[in-house]
């Protein structure tokens, strides 16, 4: 009797607590609003407000970093909680495999205005249907302080592993692009990497780590270059230098002779969105010349707009090196897009690099 009462009491209170908290949304969502899972560049009011004002709607944004974390948020939500998502272009298939995304109508999007190289149909089109549209791109390459290093040295990845800049380097803490750069430095193609390539890549990473002061996340990468803690950022690019170009004109990036790794982020629409019409409007707005300019120059980080007609002014185009894009794109290679097993091995390789003394 005692036990029964105890269990009854515990389960009653516990159930009440669970009920109370399950009634609370994990995010500030509302069917009348547009709910977006985004990267930090989409939280800029300068990007969102014109759309909100024009449509009389509130855009609720939830930031995340990393596709795994983003998809976990979706898993923890009810179907229909989210309308649009920003996602690494190479990871669109992960959302499609989970049956999360809705095909996008190409005829209602400015496909013809995009830089052809960043359409990335191999990642964004699945079974003949477009599930994502590239909205912003850039390069993981060498970011540097041109008053502290010889810019000529930055035209080759060899500078990253030589003794000349030992102790003056920071490495961007994301294994895919930096492994891509290491692969390119030894003549491998990022799209053809296999497990057999990992030992040679490991050697390059070990040399980079031996030269590095730190392995830094997005914010720390900017801080490291801006404060002079590092003079070179492996994996850096316009995303780390352009936004602070006015205050730090000495920061720049190069596309070395070996090339650079092309990063790109896409917008996708959720299949269960209760507001698909508004979700499409939002995607159309972000892809419009005005939306593209605002996204490209977001306060969180700058990047190249994928729409060639983005309404950037001359100064902004100069900072982003807009005119040089055709050449950059010709020499860039796609993000490595490993399968599950190789992805795991690459992450373990990265862990070994960081832990190396």
């Amino acid at each position: 009797m005692k036990t029964k009462s105890l269990l009854s009491s515990i389960s009653g209170v516990s159930f009440a607590a669970m009920l109370m908290f399950s009634a609370l949304p994990i995010t500030p969502v509302s069917a009348a609003d547009l709910n977006a899972l985004v990267w930090c560049d989409h939280s800029d009011p300068n990007l969102l407000k014109p759309f909100e004002d024009a449509n009389g709607i509130k855009v609720n944004v939830k930031e995340f970093e990393g596709t795994g974390a983003g998809l976990a948020l979706v898993d923890q939500s009810k179907p229909g909680d989210w309308d649009v998502m920003v996602i690494d272009s190479i990871d669109i298939h992960r959302g499609v495999e989970k049956k999360l995304f809705e095909p996008l109508p190409e005829d209602k999007l400015p496909m013809a205005d995009l830089f052809p190289e960043v359409k990335m149909d191999s990642s964004t089109v699945i079974d003949g249907m477009r599930y994502g549209i590239t909205e912003k791109f850039g390069y993981n390459t060498i970011g540097f302080n041109k008053t502290k290093v010889d810019p000529a040295d930055m035209n080759s990845f060899a500078a990253l592993t030589s003794d000349k800049y030992k102790g003056r380097i920071a490495i961007y803490d994301y294994y895919l692009p930096v492994i891509g750069m290491a692969a390119m430095s030894i003549g491998k193609k990022t799209s053809e990497l296999t497990e057999a390539d990992l030992p040679a890549i490991k050697e390059v990473l070990a040399k980079m780590k031996a030269n590095a002061k730190a392995v830094t996340d997005v914010a720390s990468s900017q801080t490291a270059l801006a404060t002079g803690e590092a003079d070179i950022l492996v994996g850096g690019g316009e995303w780390v230098t352009a936004g602070i170009a006015k205050d730090k004109p000495e920061l720049d990036f190069s596309i070395p002779k070996e090339g650079a790794v092309l990063w790109s982020q896409s917008l996708a629409m959720f299949k269960d969105s209760a507001n698909k019409e508004m979700a499409l409007k939002f995607i159309q707005y972000v892809m419009s010349p005005e939306g593209q300019a605002r996204l490209a120059t977001s306060s969180c980080y700058w990047g190249m707009p994928s729409n060639t007609k983005a309404a950037l002014n001359d100064d902004q185009k100069k900072i982003l090196r807009f005119a040089e894009q055709p050449d950059f794109l010709k020499r860039a290679q796609a993000y490595p897009a490993p399968n599950e097993a190789l992805d795991k091995k690459m992450q373990d390789l990265w862990t070994e690099m960081i832990q190396a003394k």
């Binding site: 009653g12 516990s14 596709t67 976990a72 830094t216 795991k344 992450q347 832990q355």
Partner: protein, 278 residues
Amino acid sequence: MILPQNRVAWASVSPALGWTLAFFVLPFAAMAAISFYPQDGSGPSLLSYAQFFNSPSYYYALFNSLEVTGLVTVISILLAYPFALILADVVPERWQRLALTLAVLPFWTSYVVRSYSWLLVLSENGLVNATMVKFGILSAPIQLANTRGATIIGFVHFFVMLLTLTIYANLKQLSPNYRKAAADLGAGPIRSFIHVVLPLTLPGIMVGAFLTFVLAIGDYITPQILGGNNELLMPQLIMMQIGRRGDFSSASALSIILMLVVTVAYLFCARWLKIERT
């Protein structure tokens, strides 16, 4: 049949029990279950645990965490004890509250802001290097930020305050008669401190040390910002599993291992402090 007074007792503790069950026991059980289902979909196994024990880069993260946390705890105690002793014994009673408020000021600032502030202070162009170069102590700036030392400094800055509070509270509870009695029996101040005050304030030290250990070993922000990721600690390794790959099985297994370490620390402290008797 439950006696009326027992019903009142159960009713009183039920909210806490329910809360613990709903928000600790059940999530913990879910996490434990997930840890046995590797992300590759191969079915229930110990693969996520085996990965930890078979990969040096994984178990080094635990060693790193233990080394950093141990150092932080010891340094914090060594700094906090004299500080608390001065506050309790030397600072006049009317100034003690103000002194304590000043001591806990760091708690009032955001953890992230505090860590970034330290990063700027310790950077090559920061206050510490600039001062040492200016006064000729160094000929050129040295690397202070993005090191294990920076992580320890960031932690110690925070936890000295915590330990000061627990030790100060213990010292204030100590009757002055103990020291008078020791003096009557011929003990000098140092002997009295070593044989009377220190043992009697051990509970305050151990409570603070345990809190420091638990909070530091599970902290992600400080090593991430100040350590420069030149080595991985357990929380960073756990976060790495989730970021891109969403490998919740590995992250759960690593979290369980970390929790076991904390449990061992608790058992050690509980025995020392005889918490079970209170």
